[in-house]
């Protein structure tokens, strides 16, 4: 055991002696949280919509008043008057404006006559996010204008009453589970992958192998040290990220305990997986080359950024064996939903079993000789 602790001690002393490495391994997840969280999380504002009014009647004035209300309040778009539909369409195509509303001639008359009145809406559908947002806004305006002046005493349409279980979850908060998972993954990738192979190439392992250390002591020493480093990264980012995204729940003792259990289980799983992948690698370029591939292969199908239910079947199959899936699910359950042990027990079980299984597979592959 003394020898195993000597390996852990060496790894931890190196870890704390290289703050640059430690900081850099935490920088990427924090940057992703800040940049992606703010870039993708906000609502569309300040777009420009052309209005081509061929009607000039009272109902077209009503439409324009509704547009003015949007521009003054939620500011999704502001309007610009155009005289020509052709010019408006061309400007949407060339990106000078984001959309165009065409109010055809006789629009007011058709409204009064209830003769299928129509408004034209030209959108740039190469930008799905903006066009969907403008379409949604425009649809709600049209729905409001379709509402009868005098409401029936009994509501005849079916209404959906939405009950939100949790307080508003902005994208920054939504991304926090991914950020914590990514911090641990990077820590394992650097500490368990790159530095492990670098040490091998520099001959550090040769130094270990001429001592009477056993194979198991060496394997467990390296893996426990890797798991401790990943746990420290997870705790650091968990606290920093929660404060940045305004999640006060992280200060509840039970949530802290659940987070800690998840972080430890995730660290064991990531470290076991990395050790299995690296156990027979000698070339220091390999973990560097694998970094991006593994990131794409494991993180994106996990549901960290997009729900897994939207994936094709083959990708959904990948998520079943992807440890990231369970890490993300567990963190979401704890951080965003306060789901308790019931929500995370399976994640904890899978991650621990996955970590131990990969370690079990890797140990016989580990060579006690050069």
């Amino acid at each position: 055991m003394t020898r195993m602790f000597a390996i852990i001690e060496r790894e931890m002393r190196k870890f704390f002696r290289s703050p640059t490495l430690m900081i850099m391994s935490l920088m990427l997840p924090i940057l992703q949280l800040v940049i992606i969280g703010n870039a993708f999380g906000g609502k569309i504002v300040g777009t420009h919509v052309a209005v081509v009014d061929y009607d000039h009647g009272p109902q077209s004035v009503k439409v324009r008043e509704a547009f003015a209300a949007v521009a003054a309040n939620i500011k999704t778009f502001s309007t610009i008057d155009y005289n020509s539909e052709v010019q408006a369409r061309e400007d949407v195509r060339t990106g000078k404006i984001d959309a165009a509303v065409i109010i055809p001639a006789q629009y007011s008359r058709r409204v009064y006559a209830q003769d299928a009145p129509q408004l034209g809406f030209v959108v740039d559908n190469s930008d799905l996010f903006t066009s969907a947002s403008l379409e949604g806004e425009m649809q709600s305006l049209v729905d409001a204008m379709n509402a009868p002046q005098v409401e029936d005493r009994l509501t005849k349409t079916i209404a959906l009453e939405v009950v939100e279980l949790y307080p508003y979850v902005n994208y920054l908060k939504y991304l926090l589970p991914m950020t914590v998972a990514l911090a641990m993954y990077i820590s394992v990738m650097i500490g368990g992958g790159m530095l492990y192979i670098d040490d091998k190439a520099r001959g550090v392992h040769e130094g270990y192998l001429v001592t009477p250390i056993t194979k198991l002591e060496l394997v467990f020493g390296l893996n426990i040290a890797g798991a401790i480093k990943a746990t420290l990264a997870g705790i650091s980012i968990g606290v920093i990220g929660s404060l940045m995204s305004g999640l006060g729940i992280v200060f509840h003792p039970m949530v802290v305990l659940q987070m800690l259990c998840l972080i430890v289980a995730s660290s064991i799983a990531f470290n076991g997986m990395m050790f299995l992948l690296m156990v027979r690698v000698d070339d220091p370029l390999v973990p560097r080359a694998m970094f991006g591939v593994l990131n794409t292969l494991l993180l994106y199908p996990s549901g960290a950024m997009y729900p897994t239910s939207s994936f094709p079947k083959w990708m959904q199959a990948m998520t079943i064996v992807d440890p990231f899936t369970y890490v993300i699910h567990g963190f979401k359950s704890v951080l965003l939903k306060d789901g308790g042990w019931v929500a995370i027990w399976y994640d904890l079980l899978f991650l621990t079993a996955f970590g131990l299984a990969t370690l079990f597979l890797a140990t016989p592959l580990f060579k006690r000789t050069l």
């Binding site: 003394t2 020898r3 602790f5 000597a6 390996i7 001690e9 060496r10 002393r13 190196k14 002696r17 290289s18 670098d198 190439a201 520099r202 001959g203 550090v204 040769e206 130094g207 270990y208 192998l209 001429v210 001592t211 009477p212 250390i213 000698d282 070339d283 220091p284 370029l285 000789t369 050069l370």
Partner: protein
């Protein structure tokens, strides 16, 4: 006495594999290492007596490091046997590891850790009892003259000091046998000599048996009690430095530089009495291998005077290990025929 590697009668090649009456520290018997079809070490035999410094000399790729790696349990033996401190490396590797100290070719101490921390980690890895660790660390730091750098980070040390730290690391558990794989490679001449002095002192103060691989002839000559020359995985010569030098035909080398180059000098020199070989070096410079340096010198002076030629310089040397090395291996340099392996570049700002 010179015998062949298998203990046979003396021949032209000295093969003193007999350790004499001294107890044996290392015994290598018909050892073979194969990588697929490639035989890196071919049926090598030798023994090292206790308290001896034994040198393995050979060109790059000769099999020196493979031999030392088999003896230090780093790679498995394909055939044959290596007994270190009475333990078979294949059967009792942990017992072997407890009795040996190993200094690998690369400097592998952690640059981010202090000297004390590096030694402490290895003291623990070697299972030095807690109460003895501090004493051992203080002793080895003193032995390699690094006590005042105890708490300095390893990356602040010079190359020579780092090599001394590596040596201290290998001694922290008081081993009986010390393996050093090219211990002075990459060091400047002053640091190299400091390491030689230190190793000589350690041999005496700690009664260490040492096995050193090197391709520096001077190092082998100065340090080693006996030398084995390895080439193409085979032991081609074994003996004390003096025995090896005497084994090369011609005991002296006369270096002569004639003022004027003439094609006939080679023939004239070869005809001189006692001369066994003449190596033209160009521009009137010749290396003359002879059984009698003094007689050949006089003959060259007389020859030059009789022909009215002028000598620019003339010197007599004893045969060096360089001559022995070239005699047995046939060349001075050889590219290593090993698979290409990625080597980590040094970290930015790191000491060479």
């Amino acid at each position: 006495m010179s015998t062949n590697a298998n203990g046979g009668p003396p021949g032209s090649t000295p093969m003193n594999s007999d350790c004499g009456p001294k107890p044996i520290a290392i015994e290598v018997q018909h050892i073979v290492k194969k990588y697929g079809d490639f035989e890196a070490v071919k049926d090598v035999n030798f023994c090292v007596a206790e308290g001896e410094i034994f040198g393995l000399l050979g060109p790059n790729g000769a099999g020196k490091s493979t031999l030392i790696r088999m003896m230090t349990t780093l790679i498995p033996v394909t055939a044959g046997k290596a007994i270190v401190a009475g333990h078979d490396v294949a059967k009792d590797p942990d017992d072997v590891r407890r009795t040996i100290g190993v200094i690998p070719q690369a400097m592998t101490s952690d640059q981010d850790l202090t000297l004390y921390e590096n030694l402490l980690i290895y003291a623990k890895l070697y299972g030095v009892p807690r109460g003895q660790r501090e004493k051992n660390i203080a002793e080895v730091l003193e032995a390699v003259d690094l006590t005042k750098w105890r708490d300095a980070q390893t990356k602040t040390l010079s190359g020579g000091m780092r090599r001394r730290l590596e040596i201290a690391r290998g001694l922290v558990h008081n081993p009986r046998i010390f393996f050093l794989d090219e211990p002075t490679t990459g060091l400047d001449p002053v640091s190299r000599m400091a390491v030689w002095d230190m190793l000589n002192k350690l041999k005496v103060s700690r009664q260490l048996t040492m096995l050193i691989t090197t391709h520096y002839m001077e190092e082998a000559d100065k340090l080693c009690d006996r030398i084995a020359i390895v080439d193409h995985g085979k032991l081609v010569a074994l003996g004390t430095p003096v025995e090896l030098k005497n084994s090369v035909a011609g005991a002296n080398v006369v270096e002569v530089h004639f003022d004027r180059e003439d094609d006939e000098w080679l023939g004239r020199l070869e005809k001189l009495e006692d001369v066994t070989n003449v190596q033209p070096e160009g521009s009137g410079f010749y290396r003359v291998i002879t059984r009698s340096g003094s007689r050949t010198t006089m003959q060259i002076v007389e020859l030059a005077a009789s022909l009215g030629e002028t000598l620019t310089s003339l010197s007599v040397q004893n045969t060096t290990l360089d001559d022995v090395f070239i005699h047995y291996t046939g060349r001075q340099l050889r590219d290593e025929q090993v698979k290409p392996v990625f080597t980590m570049p040094p970290r930015p700002g790191a000491q060479p």
